[in-house]
Amino acid sequence: MASSCYITFPTIFYAIRAESILKNHTCSFKMVPVPRSISSSCGTALRCECSDIYQIKEYLLENNLELEGFYRLEEEGLKTPAVKVLNLDYPEVDK
């Protein structure tokens, strides 16, 4: 079962700003359509390795980005993935 993590944004402005700011960051990520199982204000989300999500979140907040939510999706083929809403207040949580 593969899992990947997602960050959602209040508007497309912040999604694209995140992409632009992360250009110089070492973590790899991708801008993707928001999976149907996640609720988001903006249709584009950032997908990354779950081991990187805390670091990415911190970097974006340092750059005054407005973020909406953090999620982990457990994917199994084409089935609807199981969603876990992440609390990223502390780095050790939900790695």
């Binding site: 209040p10 497309i12 402005f13 700003r17 359509p33 204000s41 903006c42 249709g43 584009t44």
Partner: protein
């Protein structure tokens, strides 16, 4: 390209020619990206999203705006001014504006006045087009919320003393909306240093971009009621328009093709250096002013000395000749394009004493050559001789 078209002296209306990349970029955007920005998440849409973001960043960079989300796009300066005036003003507000304002300010204010939403007063301007600071000081009321200033007159080129006007308004807690239709791209503007609260700009004049582009900078702390609401691609389940900037003030599909051109216009300006563009246009204006001063029968309007700080606009009349007729002869006999009449600024003409006849307006641009001005001056010598009979 026809040589006649090179004698274009109407850059205050819309700049021509544009840098080559400005012509090319909209076509590339339409052919190769073309997704609807903010809608869905496929690669073409994302490419368009990135383009709109780059446009915001480019404009923010040019005006030294700290947070690009405070730059919103509109069709032109008129549209931006409508968004600012109708989004900011509330029932019972008192508004001040200078006599040099364009109809893009006068008419929205006229409607708000007619509907009984606001009251307003005009700050008189001198014959040279400068607002009278003493009159301004006396015009404030307890309900004054906004001062509207035309950064530079499209009739005389006069540059308003922004620092003095902003200091005066801010001392009383009054916000300042600046109409930069004639200055964006030709006079360096720093919204942080000057303390401008709202700045309306157009893309197709000094910014050298396509028509249909323009926008508004809104400083933090100013919350405008949207003029238009609709699709944004975000929060689609809600029947209320999103409250976060920049989407709050933008509804419907963005002009991504136009913005692609605008980015190239702004990049061209940043590469040339805004100071260098200013200097080049200033010397063209001074050269033209000094030559016209020596032609008998010509009356020039605006700041009297060629050394005055103005944008590249020269207004004049010829004794015994109708403005429209002068414009017609300039084009039909010499291939020179200019604007004649009231230039959508009736109060400005009253201030400088050319109402209702208007003036002939010449506005060279960054690409105008000295030889073009020499040819124009020769033509005006001949026309004024003709007028003197």
């Amino acid at each position: 390209m026809s040589n006649k078209l090179n004698l274009y002296f109407d850059n205050a209306a819309t700049s021509w020619p544009k840098p080559e990349a400005v012509y090319r970029a909209p076509e590339i955007q339409m052919r190769e990206a073309s997704g609807n920005p903010g809608r869905s998440g496929h690669t073409r849409t994302l490419e368009s999203d990135r383009l709109v973001y780059r446009a915001r960043e480019a404009v923010a960079n040019l005006f030294n705006v700290e947070d690009p989300s405070r730059v919103i796009f509109a069709y032109n300066a008129t549209d931006a001014l409508n968004i600012a005036l109708k989004g900011f003003l509330e029932k019972g507000d008192h508004v001040l504006f200078t006599a040099m304002e364009h109809n893009s300010v006068l008419r929205p204010l006229g409607r708000l006045r007619q509907e009984g939403t606001i009251v307003s007063d005009v700050i008189p301007c001198s014959e040279e087009g400068y607002p009278d600071i003493e009159s301004l000081e006396e015009a404030y009321r307890s309900n004054t919320r906004l001062l509207v200033v035309n950064h530079a007159s499209n009739v005389t080129g006069t540059i308003a003393p922004l620092e003095k006007l902003i200091a005066s308004a801010h001392k009383r807690g009054v916000k300042v909306l600046v109409d930069a239709a004639q200055t964006a791209g030709v006079i360096p503007i720093d919204v942080q240093k000057t303390g401008i609260d709202m700045l309306a700009f157009t893309g197709h004049k000094g910014l050298l971009g396509p028509t249909g582009t323009g926008g508004l900078y809104v400083s933090r702390g100013i919350d405008l009621k949207p003029l238009r609401e609709g699709g944004t691609g975000s929060q689609s389940e809600s029947d209320l328009h999103p409250a976060s900037m920049p989407e709050k003030l933008e509804a419907g599909t963005m002009n991504s093709a136009g913005l692609a051109g605008l980015i190239e216009g702004v990049n061209y300006i940043l590469n040339q250096g805004p100071e260098n563009i200013r200097q080049a246009e200033d010397s063209l204006r001074k050269y033209l002013w000094d030559k016209l001063q020596n032609i008998e029968g010509i009356t020039l309007y605006g700041p009297k000395s060629s050394a005055a700080q103005t944008v590249a606009v020269v207004s004049f009349t010829i004794d015994g000749a109708d403005c429209g007729e002068i414009g017609y002869i300039l084009e039909s006999s010499y291939g020179i394009l200019c604007r004649t009449g009231l230039h959508c600024a009736p109060l400005a003409h009253q201030a400088i004493g050319t109402f209702p006849e208007g003036t002939v307006r010449l506005s060279p641009g960054y690409f105008t050559g000295i030889e073009d001005i020499d040819f124009l001056v020769k033509a005006l010598h001949e026309i004024s001789k003709l007028a003197a009979g």
